[in-house]
């Protein structure tokens, strides 16, 4: 069957079963943490590069696709930061808003200097010391060549399938179809729905890789309408948008659970940042090994 231009290529069961990183003995929880950190890094870099949200979202989807499944990239070989930078550079190049390699390298240098992996609007506004994130000509040359080779690796790993269909415009169309814009609080509803779509983008469950845009848009509207308190039709209106109840429920939980998960993450990574480079991941693995080693010693001491 000819692929529909309205749909996205989706992850298969084989993709979701395991990943190249897990085969390289990266624990799944660390992979989830890095997946989220990489997606938020891409989002933050996109904001600083003044890219439209569509371009940023496409970059995040490519980033997530790259690490999926055994044929995908492994975190022990390709750090999340370099893949994030190359995905964003690639999608910007394909869009009407291309960014120079220099701008991309500069923005990532600035972000890697921030003390946290959990960005908020305030910390991105802050101007640090230029000295700290200045990229010298030599460093720039090196990072640019990494950017280009990583771009090439992403393209080959994805089989040049860079097609990403997004749910944003679909979401507005659905809201119009549901005739919600006559409601006085419609702008609030639309804003919340878009916010849920942006949330889903960062989910370590990779919701954008497992569900079609129509289902994502429908779930976002469902949650937003409940939150804002705007009444939806009494019937199973989501079926009109090709989403069944099962899927809707799954997506709603996925979208709602992110907030709690992230606050847990914040606690877990308090005072340090999630490793987004190959070296960082190796170090984290060493640290974990030592910790479990210590635990084992204590266990033995107790038992002995």
């Amino acid at each position: 069957m000819r692929p529909s231009p309205l749909a996205n290529p989706l992850a298969t069961v084989a993709h979701l079963e395991t990943s190249a990183s897990q085969l390289d003995s990266i624990p799944p929880d660390l992979e989830d943490s890095i997946r989220f950190a990489g997606a938020s890094l891409t989002q933050a870099a996109g904001v600083l590069l003044r890219l439209p949200q569509e371009v940023i979202a496409q970059g995040i989807v490519l980033f997530q696709r790259f690490y999926l499944g055994p044929p995908g990239g492994s975190l022990t070989e390709y750090g999340a930061e370099q893949v994030s930078a190359a995905s964003l550079y690639l999608t910007a190049k394909l869009s009407a808003y291309p960014k120079s390699a220099r701008s991309v390298v500069n923005v990532y240098a600035y972000l890697s200097n921030l003390p946290t992996s959990f960005y908020d609007a305030e910390s991105l506004q802050k101007r640090g010391l230029e000295k700290e994130y200045f990229v010298s000509e030599g460093t720039y040359e090196r990072r640019r060549s990494t950017l280009f080779t990583t771009e090439q690796v992403i393209l080959r790993t994805l089989g040049f399938n860079t097609h990403v269909q997004l749910p944003y415009t679909l979401c507005i169309t659905y809201l119009q179809a549901l005739d919600t814009f006559s409601h006085p609080r419609a702008p609030e509803l639309a804003k919340r729905a878009i916010a849920y779509l942006n949330t889903a983008l960062l989910s370590p469950q990779c919701l954008y890789l497992t569900h079609q845009p129509s289902a994502l848009a429908t779930a976002a509207i469902y949650l937003a309408a409940r939150e804002v308190g705007i009444k939806m039709p009494e019937c199973e209106w989501w079926e009109v948008f090709d989403t069944d109840r099962e899927m809707l429920g799954f997506l709603c939980v996925g979208m709602l659970s992110l907030e709690g998960w992230v606050s847990e993450e914040k606690g877990r990574w308090a005072g340090r940042s999630v490793p987004v480079s190959v070296e960082g991941v190796a170090e984290e693995m060493r640290r974990r090994k030592e910790e479990t080693g210590l635990d084992d010693d204590m266990q033995r001491a107790v038992n002995g």
Partner: protein, 450 residues
Amino acid sequence: MASRWANDEADKVEELRRKKDKEEKKRLKLQKQQEAEAAALATQETESRPAKRRRLSTGEDDDQEVPKPNEPEADRKLIRFEAGTWSPCRHVSHFETLNQIEEGSYGWVSRARDTTTNQVVALKKVKMDYAQDGFPITALREIQILQRSHHPNIVSLQEILSGDDPQECVLVMEFLEHDLKTLQEDMSEPFMASEVKTLLRQLVQGVQYLHTNSIMHRDLKTSNILLNNRGQLKLADFGMARYTPPPNAPLTQLVVTLWYRSPELLLGTRDYSTEVDMWSVGCIFGELILKEPILSGKNEVDQLSLIFSLCGLPSEKTWPAFYRLPNARSLKLPRDPQHKTPGFNRARFPFLTASGIDLLSALLSLNPENRPSATDVLSHPYFGEQPKPKPAQMFPTFPSKAGQERRRKRSPNAPKRGDEVQGVKNVDFSSIFAAREEGEKGAGFMLKMA
């Protein structure tokens, strides 16, 4: 004696019972369904949100979940849009090269065979120019556009291969025996009128598909148009193509091979659209009739003078925007108030019917706004009049020369990205119609089969 097979009393009773059973079952089913629907409605009102399967966090708002009652699967059929999945590129070693076809500015094309399926394909190896911007944007656009374009008159892209060298990138496309340029060079006679119509109609159908999907090809020319032995024409080489950008985004004027480049591009406009493709279609139409390029200028100035001598000069009335184009001011055009400026020079196409001339001159309108769209062209009376377009199945076949050595006439390549814009400097076109007088006398008499 009654037949053994005749219905007796017992049979009748049995049948009645069966009928009753059936009705009872039906009623029960309906009742069940109604109950389920009512239950669903009720749960919808009470439930905080639809059922969930997996949770990631133990946030407190997760706890008020209401267990979902078993309800029958709704038998409404939902539409599913599929777009497959993705998988890494295969290696080039899955293909066995048969022969080289051509080398162009964009890369190398060769004929090859898939070693697993024995299918013959065309491999296009993209030239990599990594210095500036990483993976070449032209190749990316070509891949993206071909992946999304599915039309009988557009060459289909099957997959993309990677090689040993990480920079190697090979496009696998369907193989077609000819390209229009080399085919015409090898033919002794031009295409017949009915064949020209078939070719032009397929060409314009392909262009129409692109334009309705907001794609500009930007390098239509006979060497980019492929033809197979079943008379099917397909557009190829999308290295210059791109999606129509948001309004007012400056576009590069370095597009379209010189001989097929429209006057507004030659005059340096940065705000153009699908009309540039329609100009190229006009050039190709003329070329199909004459069997040779109609406007083969040596450089941009020469190209402009050839255009003006074929199509006449622009005036304030026919092309108001002309004098606002960047390079227009430096041109010195002959202005003779007594002499009416000559229009389209139809003497160059002595065998074309009136409606054919009408279509050709419309496609080659200097003012881009006067050029017909692809959809307009398809409904032009030219296609309706005798001789009718020849069915593609009836098309003559030609020996395929793809891969054999042969002499090529030099023809210009598409402009390269990042080249310096040559521009049109001060030029005098005062005497371009000097030769027109002789041409006007006609080309004599010739019999030609349609």
